[in-house]
Symmetry: C2
Subunit: 132 residues, 2 copies
């Protein structure tokens, strides 16, 4: 039960459409891409509202904010941790549908003096269209 369900913040129309549009795609869009998607449904929404809501939704684990070292952050409508792959040719980002390697956290905990809580894996390579 997240803060949305608990009514700790309102499900405004803007917030709803942002969330719907993001959950509709699996392309890990940037804030401006989401802005463009949402504007088709809601032409008067402002970019600031998009940013504000993406921030709030990701802070509350309803979506994920991702960083692949590009200029803009990307967003994922799926809040559960999973691995990603980034094409070195065109930059597209896809999910990698493989089980999380929980053992890695233990190995890292042995190798450091940290209390390890999680890890992220980002693969790089070339997608089908960029393999030539």
């Amino acid at each position: 039960m997240n803060k949305l369900d608990k009514n700790e913040f309102r499900l405004t129309n803007q917030r709803k459409v942002i969330l719907e549009e993001l959950k509709k795609v699996k392309s890990h869009p940037t804030a401006t891409e989401i802005y463009d998607m949402v504007r088709k449904k809601m032409p008067r929404i402002s970019l600031g509202t998009v940013y504000r809501n993406l921030e709030l939704l990701s802070n509350n684990s309803i979506i994920q904010k991702l960083d692949f070292g590009e200029a803009q952050k990307r967003f994922d409508g799926n809040p559960t941790t999973h691995y990603h792959i980034n094409c070195k040719g065109c930059g597209r980002v896809d999910d990698v549908d493989m089980p999380l390697n929980q053992e890695l956290d233990e190995l890292a905990e042995n190798a450091t003096s940290y209390k390890v809580s999680s890890h992220h894996v980002e693969f790089s390579g070339f997608c089908v269209s960029c393999q030539n």
Copy 2:
């Protein structure tokens, strides 16, 4: 043998000091932190020169540019791939001295239609000072 050894670009004083100072530390400093370090040796160097050289050195695999989702990128004087851990308390970044899991690339290649070339792992947790 990299482009520096092949004299494809010059080892200017600025470039040399930037590289030396970065290799001296294991703290994964940001561009402005490196700027501050280098300025102690070379007070008239400009921030643009620091950025320009960090970019050139990382493009040529002499150093690494790292991104932990913070505002500023970080740099690592060690160009060989290794895992990192980021403290959720204070933000410090340390190396994780454990072998690369090469098997992950194969698993990802089976799970996607990509030609996978590498992967990065970033652990999160709490460092000794932040464990209370």
